[in-house]
Symmetry: C2
Subunit: 362 residues, 2 copies
């Protein structure tokens, strides 16, 4: 336990606050006098239900989630939501419109095509997803059941800096896997928000879904019960056994976020962290940022040197300095520093310093 921990810039699963891990470790064999681990508890026991409710309440409080939204803790990751969203929400008109700003948005649209008439409202593909389309570029049909977008694109390092506007009656559906809990959401515009939790919220294994209750109950007839939001709401995420440990860890992390100062603090920290790195890039003659400046992500800072050999040396040298997982996604190469809520300013500063030093060293 006392060995040195590294600064972990992995894109997800990713860093968890050290004090949260310590707390989980301290009670792993006997949760608060219960005589058992959280991993051994019946999901219907008082002890676990109390963990479950407190986690949900804290999340609702932190994100100011209104009462017409249900919070669900599901499984299967964002990729299962790529199917659940259309299976549950497309029946209103049979149509839905998607913005393709990266790999995951594209996968979501491909999955949705199994269930209805899907149109591409905008795509940044022609520029290799280096930017987010402007509001004026979005072509959203008036009879779309919803407009779908991926709020932050982990692979390309871009992030929507605005909440898209849609024709009257067309709600938003958003994949916020990588920037959830880093800003407030204007809930009035959304039917559905979801997030694989393994970046900003919890270890892998739980998917958080915020579903507006006015949109449930219209699933396609062949929808599996586990993919029907109405059934999940009815069972309060316990139609069957939920991923208890991941929910417990999420609860600890939510309490940490609250203690740190909530969304306001997370938002200030994300600006501070990303500025540290983008400033180095903008002052450098070695590093080039991958994303256009007005589309830059606060969560995933992507950059290259232009020479794959130098990139490789950069990554290897970082590892020696205790800075891990700064390699870019296997589909794009270069470097990527993922700086989610649990990444400290200290860790980010260490990376910024290393970047400067590496460039000087030549």
């Amino acid at each position: 336990m006392n060995e040195k921990r590294v600064f972990n810039f992995a894109a997800g699963p990713s860093a968890i606050p050290e004090e949260v891990l310590a707390e989980a470790g301290a009670e792993i064999m006997n949760y608060r006098g219960s005589g058992m681990s959280v991993m051994e508890m019946s999901h219907r026991s008082k002890a676990f239900l109390s963990i479950f409710e407190e986690t949900k309440d804290t999340l609702r409080r932190l994100m100011k989630v209104p009462e017409d939204f249900e919070i669900l803790f599901l499984q299967g990751g964002a990729t299962l939501q790529f199917a659940m969203a259309p299976m549950n929400l497309i029946t209103r008109t049979g149509k839905a419109d998607y913005a393709i700003t990266g790999s995951f948005a594209g996968k979501a649209a491909d999955e949705a095509k199994k269930y209805g008439d899907i149109a591409i409202a905008a795509s940044s593909k022609e520029k290799n997803h280096t930017y987010i389309p402007a509001q004026s570029e979005l072509k959203i049909r008036e009879d779309a059941s919803y407009f779908y977008y991926c709020a932050n694109n982990t692979i390309y390092g871009t992030e929507w800096q605005y909440t898209p506007q849609t024709p009257a009656g067309v709600p938003l559906v958003a994949d916020m896997s990588s920037d959830i809990l880093t800003r407030y959401v204007d809930w009035s515009k959304y039917a559905l928000v979801f997030a694989g939790a393994q970046k900003n919220m919890a270890p892998a294994g739980v998917t958080v879904v915020f579903i507006n209750k006015n949109y449930i109950g219209h699933a396609l007839p062949y929808t599996p019960v586990m993919l029907d939001y109405a059934a999940m709401v009815k069972g309060d995420s316990m139609h069957n056994t939920p991923p208890c440990w991941s929910i417990y860890m999420m609860g600890l992390i939510m309490k940490w976020v609250e203690k740190m100062g909530g969304i306001e603090a997370m938002e200030a920290r994300k600006r501070q962290r990303s500025k540290l790195l983008y400033d180095v890039i903008d002052r450098s003659s070695l590093y080039k940022g991958c994303a256009e400046k007005d589309s830059r992500s606060f969560m995933n800072v992507t950059f290259v040197t232009g020479d794959p050999e130098i990139d490789k040396r950069f990554i290897a040298g970082a590892k020696e300095a205790g800075i891990e997982n700064v390699n870019g996604h296997r589909s794009v190469g270069g470097m990527r520093a993922s700086i989610y809520n649990a990444m400290s300013i200290e860790g980010t500063q260490a990376l910024a310093d290393y970047m400067v030093e590496f460039e000087k060293r030549g």
Copy 2:
């Protein structure tokens, strides 16, 4: 950590070997010099891939799984398999036959009806699921795509004591959530075996699937990618981020099973544990076993006193003696002691002793 742990007879999630919890706790902040928790690792990192492969290999070795079966670590529990099984396997003939021996088998059949022509091959409902139908009672169609059964019925405390025989060319599909890893499986007869892991294998959040590769690639056209065994096999359970921590814990538990002596040892232990409790029941004038003797489960011992008030006193007194979760399922009442692999002989003896003492005390 040093407080007293209880004997936990929960039906799932359920007890985990104490030494496994201790090991997980010791390396929760820094896994073997990696500088990070397993919960923080990229699922594509060398460290995690090594955990993943070792877990799969140990499971394959323990259960003697042949090479034509793929082992998958999925999410969504057995309930999601209730849909995945027909969505992937029913297309051969459009028909499948189910034995209804309890609540979960019934739910599986109901889910399957969304995807094809489902017939009931046998049902124990008329006797409140207190027995397992004999081979001679199974009516399985010759053109069924598969015959489905639930190997152990946790709620009613019954277990199939034989491997069902089917017409030529009709493979078996079995839900082994509650008796997996307690006996060998005759793989040659199965297309698919699955198990929610939270009873005998791991904490909640991972579902283990054994799929015969000859049966994949024929999913219904509207099957979500996450529900397509072919896609899951292609991605080696990493089409998206898997439930890493639950898989890691499963690895530790698999190594514990191996160290204890493998399936042979688990089988001997299950016989020893269940005999301790059934012997008390059979010698008692207070307790009545719920299941018919030749259908009794080795995993879930269900019994009643016949008087709900006495049942209540029994359960409350057990709790005071450090024996937890011996209440029956909320749908049937009475008592249920779930004695999975991690339950010690010592713990089971403590319950047997308490049963005797409670009866004497009157």
